[in-house]
Structure formats: C-alpha cells, structure tokens
C-alpha cells in the first residue's frame, strides 16, 4: 500500500539535483547560485537536431522529450534514486493488497490550457487512448492490463487490473494527460492543450516552436519563465555554433565529443542526465548460424572492448556494462554488470569450444544513429581479432527499424534501446529487442517467458528481485542482446539558465527554471 501527500515535491527534486553535484550532475547549478532567488521573466531559447512529432507524443521517441513535459503533466513522477513515485496530477494513490485494483486521488485545482477543469474523465480517456495500438506507445502492454477504469467522482479514478503488474507507475510516469476534447488538433500539430507549465503558441514545422507561460498553472508562482522557444538545427556542428554564439541558452543532443570539450569551458554548464536510459548494444539474430550457439554470442561479448567504445565514441559520457540496467535500477548488480569484459583470449577459447573458430557474418547498422557507425567500426575490429570477419551493411532508419521489427536483420547489428532506467519489467515487456514472446533476435526460451511474467506480475519485493536475478542470468547466458554502453541525454546550457529538471524518461521540465 502506498499513500503520498503533495507537499513541494518538484521543488525538492530540483534542489536535490542541483545539490547532488558529482558525476551525474556536474556543473548543473553553479555554486552560490542555487540558493539565490529565481528571477522571473525571460524566454529560454533551446535547440535540438530534430523537430517535434506531435502525432508521436504517445510513443517514447527522442524528438518529443524536449517539449512534451513542458506542455503536459503526468500522473506521477519518479524519484531518480529510488524509483519511488511522487505526486503530480495524482496527489495520492492506493494499491489493493492483491494488486488487482488501484485508486488514484486527483488534484482538484488543475485546469487545462483551454480553461476546462481536469477531472477523472480525462485520466480514463488518456488510459484508453494509450491502449490504442495506433498511438504507438511502448507502454501499451501495461496499459492493456487495466481492464476497467471508472470514475468515483471528478477527483478519483478506480482502476481494475487483469492481473497484478509491477510497472504500473512507469505508465503514470510516461503517460501525458492530454485534453480529450482536442485530440485531433494535437495529432495534427494544430494545437496541443495540456495542463503543463507552458502553452502551445506557434509551430513552424522544421524550423521552430514557441511556447508561452501558462498563467493559470496549478503550481503557485510557477513557471518563472515567460516562454520557451525551441529551434530545429539539424547539424550538430551548427547546434554547437548556435550555443557558442549566444543564440540559444541550452542545446540538446550535441555530439558527445562536443559535450566533453565544453565541460571544461566555464561559459557553459554541462548536465549529463542521471537516467542512463539509452543503451547501445550489439544484437544477434539467433537464427543465423553459428550465432545460434550461446557460446558464440558469449565469445562476441568477451571480444568487444566496451571501455574503448565508451572512451572513443561517447567521450567517456556513460557507463560500460554488460547488463541493460543502470545503477538506479532494482535489477542492477555491480558484479553482473562487469561479467563480460574485454578478453579476446577467452573469446577465442569459447569460439573453439563451439566449433566456430573462424566465420563470416554481417554487421548491420542504422545510418541515422550518430554513434552507430564509429561503434560498429570498433566492434568490427574487435571481432576480427578473434577470427570473426564481418561485412557491414548500412540501412537508413526506416529500413533498419523495419528489419528489426521483422526479426530479419542479418547476423549482428549495432543499435540503441531504451527503458532500462524504468521498472525492470518494462524493459522486458515493452522494448522489442527484449520482448519474451517475440523479439528482434528471434530468441525464444520458455524459462525467459516465465521469468518475465514473474517479474511483471510479482507484487512483493522479494519475488520481484528473484525474478530480476533470473532475467539477468538468462540475458547474460544467452547474450542475444549484447549491452555495451549505457548513455544519457546531455544538456549544455549557459550558466544563467538554472533549475531545469527532467523525469526518468528525460522529459524536460522548466517549471522551476529561471534565467539569471
């Protein structure tokens, strides 16, 4: 059972992140400014390499994380260190002991940008909307477990679940509460109406997006800023130049080498998100011989020099690992994360034992994935050192994803997956590379299916942890997804911009942000 009150959670988290210092938030708030009173007014100019995709706001893709959290609120927001849900639009909740029903108490002082009050009907609408496969949400399988959602008055929602799930609050972390009366306008990018700190003002597709301060925001006195302007700058070099020239106050998605270079520049502050939500991995199609043998896949895992990839491709901004879980995950185990380390001799021995000392295969890569190509080059070199010759095949993003979803990528591939930063059950039920029933690697194992189901449906912590250990062991034994480096989005901003935050899915939040 959980019961939470509302007092000042967002402020606390913003301060917590600014005070943490350390590796994850180095330089986020300059010493001495954290306690100064925030200045009201001003417009933040930010830029990223891709435009927002309004119709994709229910899916969990990169371009939308910059603005989704500015326009919309979610029901709850995780504490980054403990993954404990904190109130947002839901001010309290009660989970039945059998895990089959959840009651949400909603805030009563919230209005949409249109002026209409936020009620339980909006939550029910949003849950049903996420359940629609056409919305493309990766959390659809979790939403689908909600068999019935009913209103007990305007400020309370009762959810009946088909079976207990351990990752329901991942859904509440990610699901935007949208205005049910204007969904078509949202999907066409005409007007996005939420309850967030900023309102949709003007969108010039491919160029810029302007948001204005929501004067009726439910959090008193917030936001401090008058507005936010997002510019689309497709080239990372041009993005860097815009930041250096003072045209923008914050750059999202700079190349890792540029972020690393700017870390020592006192004119800028660098924040590497502590979510570690993007894992770069080498995938294996287990239907392609000799990749069908677990020993061969383990050999590949030992052959890959993860530290070199981390250093040369990501400029050290991340963590080399052999599991998909970041340190904040309840499934994380330090020893298991280091199980596969660079050991070419051991790789050769495993290949010999498997009767596959020398073979050729294909290494596919997504040309739209910036770090994919340099990472593939290192992997190709590493594999050559142990007797595996690879031919690279480059596909553009659309082709690559189609082949990935069809399980038809030939041999090996380099790609990125998300969701490791949330509840472990979410990764194995919602990220297609790991899905137990059908996945990109065509890996099937009844024991894996059973472990995933246990992790998803277990209601007590002991059972959950046992299931996580089992999943991690199956993943490491079978290595159909060879995780290499966990990375996070990087934000580089001018010192004048302070106190911006993000949730565990890296939705930016400017409600406490100000320009000094």
């Amino acid at each position: 059972m959980m019961n939470r009150s509302t007092s000042g959670v967002r402020t606390t988290r913003a301060q917590m992140i600014s005070l943490l210092g350390g590796a994850a938030v180095a330089g986020f708030v300059a010493p001495g400014t954290a306690l100064a009173a925030p200045k009201r007014g001003g417009v933040v100019h930010m830029a990223q390499v891709a435009d927002v995709i309004p119709s994709g706001l229910f899916g969990q893709n990169f371009p939308n994380t910059a603005v989704g959290g500015l326009i919309y609120n979610t029901l709850t927001a995780y504490d980054h260190r403990t993954l404990e849900p904190k109130p947002q639009l839901a001010k309290a909740w009660h989970v039945a002991p059998d895990g089959l029903s959840v009651t949400l108490d909603l805030r009563t002082d919230v209005k949409f940008h249109s002026g209409r009050p936020f009620t339980s009907a909006d939550v029910i609408f949003c849950i049903k909307n996420i359940q629609d496969p056409a919305r493309g949400s990766q959390l659809r399988s979790t939403a689908a477990v909600i068999g019935d959602a009913s209103a007990a008055g305007p400020a309370q929602v009762k959810l009946r679940l088909e079976h207990p799930v351990s990752n329901l609050f991942d859904l509440f972390e990610i699901m935007f509460i949208v205005d049910r009366e204007t969904l078509p306008d949202m999907l066409s990018g005409k007007n996005l109406i939420g309850t967030g700190a900023f309102t949709w003002k003007q969108w010039n597709p491919g160029d810029s997006l302007t948001l204005a301060r929501n004067p009726n925001y439910w959090k008193p006195g917030r936001p401090y800023l008058d507005g936010v302007e997002l510019r689309v700058i497709p080239q990372t070099q041009a993005l860097l130049a815009a930041l250096q020239a003072g045209q923008i106050e914050i750059a999202l998605g700079l190349a890792p080498k540029d972020v690393a270079a700017l870390r020592s520049n006192k004119s800028f502050q660098t924040l590497v998100s502590d979510t570690h939500g993007a894992s770069f991995y080498v995938g294996c199609n287990v239907e392609v011989k000799p990749l069908d043998k677990p020993q061969v896949r383990q050999a590949i895992s030992y052959a890959i020099d993860r530290e070199r990839i981390l250093k040369e491709v990501f400029s050290g901004l991340g963590v080399a690992t052999s599991t998909p879980w970041p340190a904040s995950s309840p499934a994380y185990d330090k020893g298991e994360a280091a199980r596969y380390h660079y050991d070419p001799e051991r790789a050769k021995a495993l290949l010999k034992a498997a009767g596959a000392e020398k073979f050729e295969t294909t290494l596919a890569l997504n040309s739209g994935l910036g770090p994919g190509s340099p990472m593939a080059q290192i992997v190709q070199f590493n594999l050559q050192q142990v007797g595996i010759t690879t031919t690279t095949a480059s596909f553009d993003a659309a082709q690559f994803i189609k082949k990935l979803a069809g399980g038809t990528l030939p041999g090996l591939w380099v790609n990125v997956h998300g969701f490791g930063q949330l509840h472990p059950a979410t990764l194995v039920t919602s990220a297609f590379p790991f899905a137990a029933a059908k996945n990109a690697s065509n890996f099937q194992d009844p024991a894996y299916v059973a472990a995933v189901n246990r992790a998803w449906t277990a209601t007590n912590e002991r059972d959950q942890r046992a299931a996580y250990r089992q999943i991690t062991e199956i993943l490491l034994q079978n290595e159909f997804v060879i995780d290499c480096v966990l990375t996070s989005p990087s934000y580089v901003n001018v010192p004048a911009l302070r106190d911006y935050t993000y949730n565990m899915f890296d939705y930016l939040n400017f409600e406490d942000a100000s320009l000094g």
């Binding site: 056409a134 659809r140 993003a397 659309a398 297609f432």
Partner: protein
Amino acid sequence: MLAYAARRIPSALVVLFLASIAIFAVLRLTPGSPAVVLAGPDADPATIASITHELGLDLPLPEQYAIWLRGIVTGHMGQSYILGAPIATLIGRGLSNTAELTVAAVGLAIVIALVVGIVGATTGSRVLKTLVVTFTTVSFAVPTFISGVVLVLIFAVGLHVLPPGGHASFGSGPLTALRFLILPAVCLALPAAAVLARFLQTSLQHVLDEEYIRVARAKGLPWRQILVRHALPNAFPGVVTVLGIQFGQLLGGAVIVEAIFAWPGLGQLILQSFVSRDYLLVQDLVLLSVTVFIVMQTLTDLAHAALDPRLRLER
C-alpha cells in the same frame, strides 16, 4: 497558334501523369515506411501494423495512388504523415524561404562578379590581378560546407556580429531578417560569383581588345563611358547565359547551405521527408518539381512556336 497549344498541352499532361506513377512507384519500392519511423526503434510489429493501418498505408497500392491523385487534382495535398501539418503550408513556407535565399545569393553574386570581373579585366596592377585570381580560385574551389563553417566561426562564434543560423521573416523586422540572411547568402553566392567574375573578366578583356574600343579611346571618349556604354553591354550576353545556369545550380547547392545554417527551406524539407519516408510530402515535392519543369518546357515551346510560325505546322 491555339491548335498548336491544343496539341502540345495534352502531351504535357500525359508526361505529368506518367511521372506521377513513377514517383509513387519508386517511393513505395524503397524499403521502410513512415509507420516504422513513428513507432520508433523499440516498437513491436503489432504497433507498427496498427500505425500502418491508421495511416492508410495497408490499402492496396492502386487505391493509395488514386487517393493521392484525387487530392492533387482537387487541390487537397493532405497532411504530412510525420509532422501532421498541412503539406501545402509546409511546401509554401519551404519554397518561400529557399526563394528568398536563392534570390539574395544571385543578387550578391552579380554584384561581386561585376566588381571583381571589371577590376580583373581593367586593372594594370599586378597586386590587384593576383588578388582577383586568388579570390575567384578560392571561392570556386572551397566547397560550401567548408566556407559555411568558416563564416560561422568568424562572424558568429568569434565576432558575435551575425547569428550562426536560423531564419527570421521580414515581418519580424527587415534588419533582423537581413542579419539571418547574410551568412547563408554569402556562402551560397561565393562559388557562383567566382564563375561569373571569371566569365565577365574574360569576356570584357576580349571586348576591350576590339577595334571599336581602340577607336573610341583614340577619339578621346572618357574611360568610364567606354566601359559602361560600349564594353560592358557587349560583354554581358555570354555572362547572362552562365548566370542562368548558375541560378539552377544555386537552387541545388542551397540544400547544403540550408543544412549548415539551419535555414528551413525546400532542400531541408525534401531531405528530412525522404529520410523519414513521409510519402505524401515527398511525392508532392517531387511532383511539384516535375510540374515546374514541364510547365517551363511547354511555355518555351509555345513561345518558340509564337516566334517561328513553321513550328506550328509541324506534327
């Protein structure tokens, strides 16, 4: 003349129709679809299938083609699969921005070419001649993706006098719009200016060696009058032909410059829409290009026929 036009226009429409089929077929034969882009890298096949259905991309291809063609004929270009915005608005804005950049670059190229070409053809100073040769060689040889970055580093990052990229409409203030326009226009104009200057210099030198120029000088006409009234008008025809060719190349070159300076023009739109397989938007953009080409060809044929009656009699 009307009979000639009546013969010529239907054939243009047939070519346009065939082009529309080719555009549609080529795009659909290219692997990938907007549904997989919208679904993202972690999506499962069921989600992709649902989005495919939602977008109507699971309909038979002839039906999809008919829907697209009906939209074109009735003036409803539809909405972008990825951005969701009306395609007519996207194309209109991109076209206007690219035209703004190209016209500014052409104007700038002409001005630079006039100055450099005239100086190169008329100066007796070795230093000036060397400077002209250096300018034209460097401007022509350095690709725009390098000159663009250098311009940004000097004027935006170093001196902070101009923005490194982006676009502002003239409605937001002519001065602001000009500040955004200067760097991309200069970057785009430099190679064209170099070519034009070389042609002008050679052509002008040839004209200045003509006997009528020597006669004019012998008669004591002022040098400026000889240059402006007699030499330049006779040097221009060849240069104007080159200018026409350069204009087309500038439109093509604008794709790279738009990327460097984050200029939201047609080049960026085509590139991004193709990468994301935004079928309708790519189809409309390519068909628009083909239409412009066919219309120009038809108008040229009609103009030739108007000028030469023998063409009207040909079948």
